[in-house]
Symmetry: D2
Subunit: 275 residues, 4 copies
Amino acid sequence: MEYKVSSQLMYNAEEPGTLVLNIRALQGDNESLVIEPGTITYLDYRSDMDRLLVLPVVEPGEVSISYSSVVKSQFDFIDFSGLSPQPVSELNPAILLYLHPSRYCQSDKLTRMASRLFGKIDNEFEKVLAITEWIYQHVEYLSGSTNGETTACDTIVQMAGVCRDFAHLGIAFCRALDIPARYCSGYAFDLSPQDFHACFEAYLSGYWIMFDATKLAPLNGFVRIAMGRDAADTAVCNLFGKIYGSSIVVNSELISGTMDPVFNTMNSSVGISYR
Amino acid sequence: MEYKVSSQLMYNAEEPGTLVLNIRALQGDNESLVIEPGTITYLDYRSDMDRLLVLPVVEPGEVSISYSSVVKSQFDFIDFSGLSPQPVSELNPAILLYLHPSRYCQSDKLTRMASRLFGKIDNEFEKVLAITEWIYQHVEYLSGSTNGETTACDTIVQMAGVCRDFAHLGIAFCRALDIPARYCSGYAFDLSPQDFHACFEAYLSGYWIMFDATKLAPLNGFVRIAMGRDAADTAVCNLFGKIYGSSIVVNSELISGTMDPVFNTMNSSVGISYR
Amino acid sequence: MEYKVSSQLMYNAEEPGTLVLNIRALQGDNESLVIEPGTITYLDYRSDMDRLLVLPVVEPGEVSISYSSVVKSQFDFIDFSGLSPQPVSELNPAILLYLHPSRYCQSDKLTRMASRLFGKIDNEFEKVLAITEWIYQHVEYLSGSTNGETTACDTIVQMAGVCRDFAHLGIAFCRALDIPARYCSGYAFDLSPQDFHACFEAYLSGYWIMFDATKLAPLNGFVRIAMGRDAADTAVCNLFGKIYGSSIVVNSELISGTMDPVFNTMNSSVGISYR
Amino acid sequence: MEYKVSSQLMYNAEEPGTLVLNIRALQGDNESLVIEPGTITYLDYRSDMDRLLVLPVVEPGEVSISYSSVVKSQFDFIDFSGLSPQPVSELNPAILLYLHPSRYCQSDKLTRMASRLFGKIDNEFEKVLAITEWIYQHVEYLSGSTNGETTACDTIVQMAGVCRDFAHLGIAFCRALDIPARYCSGYAFDLSPQDFHACFEAYLSGYWIMFDATKLAPLNGFVRIAMGRDAADTAVCNLFGKIYGSSIVVNSELISGTMDPVFNTMNSSVGISYR
């Protein structure tokens, strides 16, 4: 499958400053990037986890960014039936940091809850599926119900949130159960209304497997932008100086291939791992 | 200067599990490491930021780790008088993540406070010195006053904490002012009583500069073990399974050279940057 | 039934100060109160809700309080089958304040959770029973797991607590559902080990009905000391000045009558209302 | 001085429910109250602390309340120079509950901070003045910066708030220093823009003394509506059922006498105590 993803963002700079954008598809191809005013000379930075655009804004005024890319979606189906959990001692130590609590995922506070709710499930994939289902059943998707300070623990109490909050809670439960987990932002096919989306990935038997507790978009229609510990690492935009966002338009469309949408469902044993 | 640093740690394993230790000097030399029982075959992992020991514990029982190393202390004095702040747009993008809030350093909640208290100081080194002095003046060093869930915001309200809390608050204020900052654990010469210590490093004009708001040990007597976003990344030990710590003995002694102790003081313009 | 309840409390005063004790049975009879040193002249204060002893401690030293009373247990069984909920507009306005959130019972944060978990139950007694059962099933009774700052929202996340935390959560859920609720401290027959105990009362169809989500002591063996919005109002002791508690011994024994222990159980429609 | 105070409130009821209003002047005279639709038969409730209107809303639709009153302002100036603090043991025990922490005033968390900032001031009036001044200096008055969950501890960290938050912080500091304190809502002369206002009262040497850390309205132009532990007790309106506020208009004007505005200032020793 091939997707055409695009985003147009507008900012108002009251004074000079810097925009750090995190909107490029991690494996984007045929990319187009138009920044206005054209005098802005941006810096392009690529890591394993993200592709940042650093834009120094020298003069006050409006800044507009228009990005599009064609992305070939590449992932594997991994069957976890019969796979046993990987002990922490056999993990690649570079993965261990995805067990640490982070700003929005206070896994250290959730060990008892995670253990009581999900501790008895042996198969790790089923365990994370159960987490995903629990969140889907207990948390109401409600635009505007949370803000940039809302944490996984807040979401448990409030029982409402948006994709970001669903992902944070999934990550926090996983880490509390000694399963590495990370946040993943991206473009999502068939998400309505179109917007940037967030999921989480759990590290199971050597694969990063994608989970989406919102069930609002198919797992196999995701185009990844960035991975990180939580939303703090993958913000669409970090603003330095008096610069304010004014509008965002996001789109994702299938341009070749057909897609048979896959969602997290109980009793499945097959996960999706993006390459 | 050369330091001999050492630590002896004891754990009780009620069941098989894994210990991940973060106790080796980052630039240790002449290292000795004795683990008992000797049947434990550990994995050694080195990154830019830390050196992990991953110990699978196969049988219940006592585990003891005895480590020592001789470390040549290497750092530079950087004079910041007259240096202007580095704009975010000129930072190496790999450094940007040290501007993100983390588990214990909710810099996103502290922008107004940091700006009101320290925002008017132009020189960035002086700004971080002022942060360090504020913490020193306002927070009481009180063993046992905090726990593993205590955050920078908690410390502002409680006005008490230990080295870890002092460092978290320093980091949070720096990030709230768009200054990258990270946590640093290590051995500390002349710290009484001897224990693992924690400081923070701020990224100023291209250098990671060490700050210690506790003023309990000289900045130039620090032997770094690990750097990370906060204490979540640099724990002396992460325990997986029913394994419990029973004792820790830590030591650091000067074995060659003389040291003229340096502490953070107002009106200084010289910082210490470890290599 | 008649109970003999007693408590012995010891305090160490490092300097002069004041002790405010809240240990007398609300309907105590045949009371004995011995305070040492005998020079302390206490003030006795009685309200509808509690009976305070205010003890000025003039000299440093040990203070011991020894209290006992014989209490005739008086309560009614109220059958709620078929009773409809009382609308807020028909409540005695003096009761309305038990709908307000308080220090440990942030009912304002729990409206969605309470509504989703219990909102569909029509009968109000069954609603509070369901709350009680939910707490009993989800929260682990674990001595020492919480402290004087722990709130109802914390307990939801931690899933552990002591009687005080069980009561706070019950109260918070009730208020979130527009059911007045208050905290109740007392002596509890058949509680093991013996200690002061806490329950909560919900105001249903004109009666304050007792609930105990810990199920650790029979509802009909409770001797009430104080009622209030939460533990902040009913502390066994408030200490002013450098005075520290050193020991507490509590006891409750049945001295006449027989008791057929009653606990909160699902499918019951009968509640206990103390006079 | 005589004030004419008035308020017009509009609500939209999507379904039947109950409004509990707390808008009447505590010592109102010549009162006018018009409620539409006129079919609503309200209940009037008066306590020492407030005067509630309980309005059952039987049918969906718009509800409007129009209130006005003429109030003779009655208060005394109390000179605290030379007055010593009243020990807790000499307080009327009925006042003790104003020492307890409450929903928005977690005084239990602020004992160290309050003691370090204000503990050395002997005169209690000066102590509360210093609290008031500290809040005025440190907290920015910023409409919309807080919400119904914001607590005194949040305000310390955020350094911004509205009158309600200023009052909560003042109350929390007082209680942390063993000074009884309560929240006070009312009409405020010369407040711009006109709105309901909030102050706090501290209990000093037998008098409830008014303090206003916002300094936005004169202390001697306040017409009290309600007192309580914090905003939870004195809400302008508590809504039960799907009823939503649509507009509020508030006014206060001087109709007889002249007023020489009094604000809290350092170095004053005279407080205002409303009768």
